[in-house]
Symmetry: C2
Subunit: 373 residues, 2 copies
């Protein structure tokens, strides 16, 4: 038996209902993974995540390599024990962070040289080093170290980059991980449908435990991302889980599931929460808005999270305006509850073969709110 | 029946065991009140406070008058409902904050003119206005509006100030509060034992529901505060609760209880938590210290709080160094748990007539740690 494996249960159009098994529990898909960059989902404790039904979180090889150090985490018993999280963890390889955070980046065949975003110190990460970092962390799902280009990139840049990524993915697969760890490959190819297909031909023979679609949500318009998904997702095998990296808005999740994606991660619900932007059943709410100052109602009357059950919009606005830590926590609880609940609703809709209906109702509700607000 | 009243249960030396009754529940004394300045105990939710056994919190008339405004809080159903806290609340009058935070302060017989610490806007608070603010907030215990001098102050300054405070306290008592609200008087007199006695003579005939000792913990050395308590506490009647305002360190709580004080409040456990200074059964811990980087043990092996039960010193240090919100929360949970547990231990010691023994053991343990660390 593979350490990480997927079982497809049913489909509704291209949307898939399944289950992903790991050494730290299994969970139904489609699923959203809260982001816990530095070994903590910002402002929340593990029991908060348990309460909202989160079954897997994402953490970052790059950040934990920088601070506190992957060897330290390993000495402390691994990432699960370190952060007191007993369910599944997926670690990002560092490829995206090296692109988006590091300075003085230099990519060679061997790997990437760069300066730390924290203190300017010089570092080098190769596919082998990324595997070593993730092995030390002990995550359940390890991501290949790839090159992630910014948008826009020329056809030539993408072609060259995805060839390099293909070689790096084979080097990642050649590294021995811990027994419980599964390794996911990443499909690149930028915003060029034919390069997505070409990259798939380069890597499809590698035996990964799951497949990710990378290089999206890097600045392109949503329609372009959906078009790439239309090409890319059908390339992937039915019997492996499909992970759309770094995506996205609630609309992106619905469109991703509609195209056959199984798992997602994004900082949006957590980061927006701290910035006072809240996702609700009727669209986005900016809690700072003065119209909420004396609003005694709940943030989202349809939501059953602790923030909506126990507090008013007036109080949430007060906490935000006063820069109170509890505001960050309640907003994060709400936004992640919204995302995780949205995935649950989609799973139910797929199970009951009414995903299209759900998708239409989802947009209709948002449109009505725009018209009336 | 008074809206707020105290029942003395037993004594051990000068230390008192009792119960304070309010419209939002009763609680045993000696008790520590966590500070919730802006209608939130920073980083915690009410359920966190419930879990650690907090039965009363302190909030601030000055801060809530400034933001979000006491009338807004009243419109939202009062402070208890606004912040979702169903147990007792004591509100400070604003006297201390006007002294410590406001700019361009001008004290007259009528009240205090000052500029806001938030935006420089001009404001005026009188005894009557402070009562109006606290009435709107709907706290269970309302504090008189007094003048709180900085240390050091001359005998003449203290004499003049306490005469003014005496007149203000009568004006506070003359204001009709909500039915469930009790009003506490404040004994001033600075660092002059004979002025403490003189001030008591000026105010002892006013029928307050409880008495506070103010004007301490304003920069004087601990020994001076204890000396003033030796004089001041015995002045107060046995049948009313005694509240030592803004105090203090764990040692101060032990010394206050030893001298007959019943309730305390201080920002120290919450503020220090956010600064990474943690109180333990063996003394203070600065969690930032590099020696904790790879320390897999709990912060305080004798503590049963969530931070000590679920996390290592290594992880707490990582959260602090990474400026993670969860660090502030776990540290605050721990420090308040320590304070509230210290009070519980003192109540048990008084009940069992072994308070002196407890006090000696408390110091011995700290001394041993200093010698070995």
């Amino acid at each position: 038996m593979k350490p990480v494996y997927y079982k497809l249960q049913s489909t509704d159009g291209k949307a898939r209902l399944g289950e992903l098994f790991t050494n730290h529990g299994s969970f139904p898909t489609p699923m959203f993974m809260p982001v816990g960059t530095a070994a903590t989902v910002k402002s929340l404790a593990p029991e908060d995540l348990h309460a909202m039904g989160a079954k897997i979180i994402l953490s970052n090889a790059y950040h934990l390599y920088m601070r506190p150090g992957h060897k330290l985490v390993e000495e402390m018993g691994g990432l699960h024990k370190f952060m007191n999280w007993d369910r599944a963890i997926l670690t990002d390889s560092g490829g995206f962070q090296v692109m988006s955070l590091a300075d003085l980046r230099k990519v060679t065949e061997e790997g990437v040289q760069f300066s730390s975003h924290l203190d300017g110190s010089k570092h080098f990460i190769s596919p082998e080093i990324s595997m070593e970092i993730q092995r030390s962390l002990g995550s359940d799902i390890v991501m290949c170290f790839d090159e992630c280009l910014k948008h826009p990139a020329t056809r030539e840049e993408v072609q060259k980059s995805m060839e390099l990524t293909s070689r790096w993915e084979r080097r990642c697969r050649a590294v021995k991980l811990k027994e419980h760890q599964g390794l996911f490959g990443i499909l690149q190819g930028g915003m060029y449908p034919e390069l997505r297909a070409a990259h798939w031909e380069m890597i499809k023979d590698i035996d990964f435990e799951g497949w990710a679609i990378g290089g999206l949500s890097v600045g392109e318009p949503p329609a372009m991302m959906y078009e790439i998904l239309d090409t890319a997702v059908p390339l992937l095998p039915q019997d492996k889980v499909r992970y759309l990296m770094g995506v996205g808005t609630p609309e992106d999740l619905v469109e991703g599931v509609a195209r056959g994606v199984d798992i997602f991660d994004c900082v949006m619900p957590t980061r927006n929460a701290r910035n006072g932007t809240l996702f609700t059943s009727f669209g986005k709410v900016h809690i700072k808005n003065a119209k909420f100052a004396k609003d005694p109602g709940p943030l989202d009357p349809e939501c059953s999270c602790a923030a909506c059950t126990n507090y008013s919009r007036s109080y949430l606005r007060h906490l935000y305006v006063s820069n109170e830590i509890l505001g960050a926590r309640l907003n994060t609880l709400h936004n992640l509850h919204f995302y995780i609940n949205l995935m649950r609703q989609m799973r139910e809709a797929i199970q009951e073969k009414r995903f299209d209906e759900f998708r239409q109702a989802f947009y209709k509700k948002r449109q009505e709110n725009e018209e009336t607000s």
